[in-house]
Symmetry: C2
Subunit: 213 residues, 2 copies
């Protein structure tokens, strides 16, 4: 544990900053960025940008700003994106397959989207042995072995709600530390395992609220 007690709200903004830095860094003439400019592009106040970065160190120079390339590399280090991260995906339905392709594209396009889906899992016999974009589909029985062998710490769950908790349990047992859950259920995981919910269903229902305002 490197920095304890840094709030999730802070962590959530770091990838956003990193994306802005990569965007502006494409212009080789621009070497520096101020918290004002970085905040503008990320949709955050300059004070908050400085406060967020302040949790991790001093990355800027007073009167000057932040060196784009340096700050980007520091953010990659903080987010563990300085090395390639192997990811598993469980549930190779249409959403699962689409996410494999989506992640592959991000991996190609975004310089520091360093997450790589390396193994797929499904329980359906007619999918096992197949692949999506060249990534092999394994039976659930192979989960533990593959997670260990490939050093997988993050998994994406795109199985039906009814099996999501069971799959999460298996992932945790196999040693996975973070889960991106697309199933419309609240997963229960032990302390130390992180779950992010990508619940499209809830988001759409939430948007419906604003139709009456």
């Amino acid at each position: 544990m490197r920095w304890s007690k840094i709030s999730d709200a802070v962590i959530r903004r770091l990838p956003l900053y990193l994306r802005v830095l990569e965007e502006v860094g494409r212009d080789p003439d621009v070497k520096l960025i101020s918290s004002q400019e970085l905040g503008d592009q990320a949709g955050v106040s300059p004070a908050l940008v400085r406060k967020d970065l302040g949790w991790f160190g001093e990355f800027g120079k007073q009167g000057v700003g932040y060196e784009i390339a340096y700050l980007a590399s520091e953010l990659r280090r903080i987010l563990n994106l300085d090395k390639e991260i192997p990811v598993a995906l469980v549930g190779v339905g249409s959403l699962g397959s689409a996410l494999v392709r989506y992640a592959g594209q991000r991996y190609e396009e975004e310089a520091s989207f360093n997450l790589h889906i390396v193994a797929l899992f499904d329980s359906s016999p007619n999918k096992i042995g197949g692949n999506v974009d060249g990534i092999p589909i394994w039976p659930m029985e192979a989960l533990k072995e593959q997670v260990a062998e490939k050093g997988i710490k993050i998994a994406i769950v795109t199985v039906p709600s009814s099996s999501a908790q069971m799959v999460a349990d298996q992932l945790v047992a196999a040693g996975v530390k973070a889960i991106l859950n697309f199933a419309p259920v609240q997963l229960t995981v032990p302390e130390g395992v992180h779950v992010a919910n990508a619940d499209v269903s809830l988001e759409l229902q939430r948007l419906a609220y604003y139709l009456s305002t």
Copy 2:
């Protein structure tokens, strides 16, 4: 505008409460639920459940609790889910197609997921005229007409980042009031239009942070 100034944090929890109510409501013997029980199942404190509901009215009985069917119907009304909501989707790639199927499934399985994708749009000539699960794919030129004809107020955007802002502009011009954006860019929309970001890329990068803790 019915209730002004209710925070987004509150609105975000309402669909969650609704989901719990539907879940427990399946058992016909259970007619009542306390804020304690509702909170437990939604992962929220009982005090917060009562405070959230309190913004919209008095739905419970002291000493008794909340009548499940009644509270559910009130939440549906508040979230505009008491009537079917037509939705458009722009960008019929693999992610777009997958979401069409996903939404179709939610529509079947969840009693009050009352959002219905009724029109798809793409710029690729070899997709136009086709369909996904029977829902027709229109050219972008047909957007304004279809949105007006079908009364579409919500759209899902699954186009590449490079065209997302342009598509958003067209959606806004056509009269769409809420956008669920899957493209990894920050969309700019006028006052009164709501954007929810479903940025899988950011979520995964965020999860990577927790691998070092």
